[in-house]
């Protein structure tokens, strides 16, 4: 078993033993999305207009709930300490853990997305744009989110603080993603928005493993 299989395989195995923890954020997502037709208006036109934003907001909120399990268990049971003493570079360990977390948390979201698109009356063009923004944008949520999770992992009352720290940072992504889907609704090109999201993703992919490693070291101190 190579080093990263030792982390990746382990995280996958742990995730599948904690299925309840994985399903709950998805159910939360589904319920939040259903609140909008019920609370705002069930009219198809309204839903189509607010749909992209609703799905993205629900995705951000449910990801904040799912994010904590990224390092919490490992911090509390001491597995994180052992990673830091193993000789594996901590940025690499962080990157692998974030990748495993993304697969487990967001791929189900992508699988659920057709249902959400149907609930909110999105057209096929809009749905394609939505999926593209989700594929590019959700790794960004995981990468940047992991920095804040690393900082708050040692605190008792991490939950709401995590949301307060991350929501302002996620707003640009939200704006560009919904702009892309709105452009798709008007049959306009949206390469620019996707390119910007992709650029943010590349920047995050390059820099955040080091930031995450630093955050974990701060929490360990």
């Amino acid at each position: 078993m190579s080093l990263y299989q030792g982390i990746f395989k382990r995280d996958m195995q742990v995730a599948f033993k904690q299925k309840a923890e994985l399903v709950q954020p998805l159910m939360f997502l589904l319920m939040v999305v259903t609140l909008f037709p019920l609370g705002v208006s069930p009219s198809p036109d309204t839903l189509q207009r607010i749909g992209p934003g609703v799905i993205w907001i629900a995705a951000i909120l449910s990801s904040l709930m799912a994010m904590e399990r990224l390092f919490r268990d490992d911090f509390q049971d001491g597995a994180l300490e052992q990673y830091m003493l193993s000789g594996m570079p901590l940025p690499a360990v962080s990157a692998v853990k974030v990748a495993a977390h993304w697969l487990v948390s967001f791929v189900p979201l992508l699988l659920l997305s057709p249902l959400l698109a149907m609930f909110l009356n999105l057209t096929v063009d809009m749905y394609i744009a939505l999926v593209l923004t989700l594929i590019l944008g959700t790794p960004l949520l995981s990468l940047i989110g992991a920095i804040a999770v690393g900082l708050t992992v040692g605190l008792q009352k991490g939950g709401v603080l995590l949301a307060l720290l991350l929501i302002p940072v996620f707003i640009p992504l939200l704006i560009f993603a919904t702009s892309a889907v709105d452009s798709a609704a008007l049959q306009l090109p949206y390469h620019a928005q996707l390119a910007i999201i992709a650029a943010m993703l590349l920047l995050a992919a390059a820099l955040s493993p080091f930031a995450i490693a630093y955050s974990l070291k701060v929490s360990q101190n």
């Binding site: 605190l155 307060l164 930031a211």
Partner: protein, 263 residues
Amino acid sequence: MWKWLHPYAKTERAYQLCLTLQPWFWVGALACLSVGTVWGLAFAPQDYQQGDSFRIIYIHVPSAILSMGTYVAMAIAALVGMVWQWRTAYMSMIAMAPIGAVMTFIALFTGAAWGKPMWGAWWVWDARLTSELILLFLYMGVIALYGAFEDKQQAGKAAGVMALVGVVNIPIIHYSVEWWNTLHQGATISKFDNPSIAPEMLWPLLINLLGFAFFIGAVTTVRLRNEIVLREMHRPWVQALAMNKALNQQPGDAATASLKEGS
């Protein structure tokens, strides 16, 4: 080149520096703010388009510029703390944070007050206003994160990371009026072009900008002094300082008399 800065890694030297700078900052703030505000509110010529309601520019623009400037200063302090492990850097960072947040709030509030007569709306979700609001959230996040840790050195490191992650927002705010079609007017003062504002209106603006900067400096030095004393309570120099202050303030007091006897 930066060797002269190194003594201020020690809290005692930083404290002395704050004591020295403080009166100058207060005097500068008082002088510039009174001159600038009176000039701007009473004596600057009326705007041909907006009449007298443009005068809120003398509060709005300095507070907006300095809300961003303070955040950048905070991020620089965080970077210094992270790279050189200076405690005073982290203490400065958290000393600046609340005043920066207040500046951001003033910018948003005066902006809304200006927006109502100008645009007919207290608030619009255009790029500049939204990114300035995000700045306020970032400030609050840094302050909240710092407060959540009991070990304040650890708190400084954590809040420093968040401050640096958020610094990306500053260029977005600044260039938002260029990158997006916004309702908000373009930059009044640009580094390279002639300013788009008449000189008689410009001078009070610059003086107020300086005044606000002095004010932020003054409040920061007060907060930094407090933070240093609070964190270094156990050190002998702080205890000597407290002793001196008690003895100097009320020589006739029974409590201080017993202090004198004890020392």
